[in-house]
């Protein structure tokens, strides 16, 4: 008799072959100009349960360009492990041909050239088509949204998330968990959640006063699908009040709370759950660590760190699925659940090529309806990119979008040094492309946008870099917050990612003079996205808009000011 583990392993191998051949095939098909929607969606329906996972959409309702990271370093046990491989290493690991559609979708190389050939990705009307197709094959498939959905665009900001809520409701999700949603303010989140036609989950969302589970969010929900009793347990972003302004949602406390996760798994199993799914916003490495500590979870649908992986990662008997960001991908996971156990799975990361997948016209209409009142503001052209400049954000240390934002802060706010947060959202702009106000808001929109200007000592600047670096490079994933390194303008530094906190960052240099940063000297620093209440200054989008308008054509030189050691 074949054991459950053998089943998983056998199925894993089948999935890997399926994934690899499928990916390689697309390259050939695309070369023949024959990439079709049917090929992208091709899937032999398997088992008796289907899960559909979308996550980290960041309010991108329309197709976008999104360049995947060039540098995404893992430390400790995750050094060189998925998802901490990029570029050619990533393509080699998954059998992806250079220059293929998958290479364009999943890696950074030749991004602007491939982008011209393969076009934009995402668009919630295309995602809707994919969801509908999966439901045509499996009518009771579960659609699960990993959060970071109601944040990240001009219209989302001005409608306080309502535009995205209206569009997502068209797709009829079954459950959702949360992160940036809370930066709308807890009152607004409760207003939306109260009217939500699906489950709002988070086993780790607690009442901060009494340290008890918050009443507004259920820990889990049961679903009966394909004759299987499924429990979906929510896991919101654990470090909300630390990485984002806690004063905007003071009633809530978060944390990983894996002991309670175990209790919830035990509780749903005792209540008859045959399949346990964790809809998580932990971040990939935290999910991997949690899967090693909590037993009894069959599937973790991972979000937050924006990784897109063509195959599941297996930890014990738990499979972890990573579905990318910004609407670029949808994951389909088919499961064979029998006798109360997951006996096998089949998985596909479906890339949403917007020119290949037919938009769902009903959803397009709703998207356009949300945008209509703001169309004039959205479409105003602020400037354009030079032919040598792609604007992107993802990567551990810098991105050209952030370099531009830091340049704007230094020039418009007369500062020595600029700081821009290491968030992972924000689509890309191709060379020679108009930059509209919508594009600028896609990389800056937030509810705490004030661009501060303040004096800091060299010692304090160093302390900030050390602190943020430890959020990224602490060897224990439970101490990682899932963002990238704070972006710095006007200053260079050296970082050894394998050192402990306090010893990673050195050689701080003020670029305009070439002098070392003096710990006791004071520097004028401009930045934005402070988590402190009462931060003063103009919103960052006004600062950058002025700068882009003054520049006309924007050219960003490659950033060579961060010297990375130990990668």
């Amino acid at each position: 008799m074949i054991s459950r583990r053998d089943f998983l392993q056998a199925s894993m191998a089948a999935s890997a072959i399926y994934g690899a051949s499928g990916f390689g095939e697309w390259g050939k098909l695309a070369a023949q100009q024959a990439l079709t929607q049917d090929q992208l969606l091709e899937f032999d329906t398997f088992g008796n349960v289907s899960l559909i996972h979308v996550t980290d959409i960041h309010a991108q309702l329309k197709p976008i360009y999104f360049r995947e990271p060039e540098i995404n370093l893992g430390v400790g046990g995750n050094k060189g492990a998925v998802p901490h491989i990029t570029g050619a290493d990533f393509r080699r690991a998954y059998g992806i041909e250079d220059g293929s559609p998958s290479a364009y979708a999943l890696t950074y190389n030749d991004f602007s050239a491939l982008g011209q050939a393969y076009g934009k990705m995402g668009g919630m009307d295309r995602v809707s088509t994919v969801v509908n197709q999966i439901r045509a094959a499996r009518p009771d498939a579960l659609l699960l949204d990993g959060g970071d959905t109601w944040h990240g665009s001009y219209t989302c900001y001005h409608t306080e998330g309502q535009d995205v809520v209206n569009v997502m409701n068209m797709l009829k999700p079954d459950a959702m968990t949360f992160h940036w949603e809370f930066t709308l303010g807890s009152g607004r989140v409760r207003d939306i959640v109260n009217d939500l036609p699906f489950a709002a989950l988070g086993q780790n969302i607690f009442d901060s006063e009494w340290d008890e589970p918050a009443e507004d969010f259920a820990p889990y929900k049961f679903f009966e699908r394909g004759g299987v009793k499924i429990a979906v347990i929510g896991q919101a972003f654990p470090y909300m009040p630390i990485a984002n302004p806690g004063w905007m949602f003071p009633e809530y406390s978060f944390g990983i709370r894996d002991q309670r996760m175990q209790e919830m798994v035990n509780e749903v199993r005792a209540a008859g759950a045959e399949l346990v799914v964790c809809l998580s916003h932990n971040g990939f490495d935290v999910d991997k660590a949690m899967a090693g500590r909590v037993t009894g979870i069959d599937v973790i649908l991972a979000g937050h760190t924006h990784d897109a992986l063509p195959e599941p990662v297996l930890v014990g008997d738990t499979i972890i699925i990573a579905s990318g960001s910004n609407g670029k991908f949808v994951s389909r996971v088919d499961l064979d659940v029998r006798d109360g156990k997951m006996m096998g799975f089949r998985h596909k990361l479906i890339p949403i090529f917007s020119d290949v997948i037919e938009p769902d016209a009903e959803v397009t209409a709703v998207i356009d309806e949300q945008r209509a009142p703001y169309e004039a503001e959205l479409s105003e052209v602020l400037g354009r990119t030079a032919d040598d400049t792609t604007l992107y954000r993802r990567g551990n240390f810098n991105g050209s979008w952030d370099d531009l934002i830091c340049d704007a802060l230094i020039n418009e706010r007369e500062a020595d040094i600029a700081m821009s947060p290491g968030v992972r959202w924000g689509p890309s702009i191709m060379p020679g492309q108009d930059i509209t106000r919508e594009d600028l808001w896609n990389v800056t929109s937030m509810t705490y946008p004030n661009a501060y200007r303040t004096e800091m000592t060299g010692e304090f600047i160093h302390t900030i870099l050390e602190d943020v670096a430890d959020n990224l490079f602490n060897e224990d994933p439970y101490y990682q917050q899932g963002g990238d390194m704070v972006r710095i303008g006007g200053m260079g530094y050296r970082i050894d990612i394998n050192k402990p906190i306090g010893e990673r960052v050195s050689n701080l240099t003020l670029l305009k003079t070439g002098d070392s940063i003096d710990p006791s000297k004071t520097y004028m620093v401009a930045g934005w996205a402070s988590v402190n209440e009462g931060t003063e200054g103009p919103p960052i989008w006004d600062v950058v808009e002025n700068y882009i308008k003054n520049q006309g054509t924007v050219s960003v030189a490659p950033n060579t000011s961060v010297d990375v050691v130990g990668a």
């Binding site: 909300m240 978060f254 968030v423 900030i464 963002g483």
Partner: protein, 138 residues
């Protein structure tokens, strides 16, 4: 034991003030432990300490400790100027040997709980709690 020493960072990114509290020597911690255990060897089974990996607010950090059968449990904040937090004593009729409280942490440090068992043995659990100026989420 490996204690993490760090300057205290009360202000989030974007403000210019860093408070630096000098930590006293860790002799205080060793002295507190010696006073509680009488220098006995300390095991690690049978005690569970629950504390956040990263404190949401260093001024009020929830901690829970559970040591079934214990007579007394001492909690220490190893990096605080005064490490002793408190000792919970359980009588013979206590239904459980569980305690939860909130403590103030002067910076990133280990929180330590030591339980004295009825047979005179001791068990210990510890966890590093980070007090951070905050990063920027994805």
């Amino acid at each position: 034991m490996n204690f993490t020493r760090r300057n205290t960072l009360w202000m989030a990114m974007g403000t210019a003030i860093a408070t630096v509290l000098p930590f006293k020597a860790f002799a205080d911690v060793d002295a507190d432990i010696a006073a509680f255990t009488g220098g006995a060897e300390i095991g690690s089974e049978g005690i569970t300490l629950v504390a956040p990996e990263i404190a949401e607010n260093g001024n009020t950090v929830p901690v829970e400790v559970n040591a079934p059968g214990a007579e007394a449990i001492m909690i220490l904040a190893a990096g605080n100027p005064t490490p002793a937090v408190g000792t919970f004593n359980f009588g013979p009729l206590a239904g459980s040997q569980f305690a939860s409280t909130r403590i103030r942490l002067a910076g990133t440090q280990d929180v330590v709980a030591i339980a004295r068992m009825p047979d005179g043995s001791f068990v210990q659990a510890s966890q590093e709690v980070k007090v951070t100026i905050g990063g920027c989420g994805g």
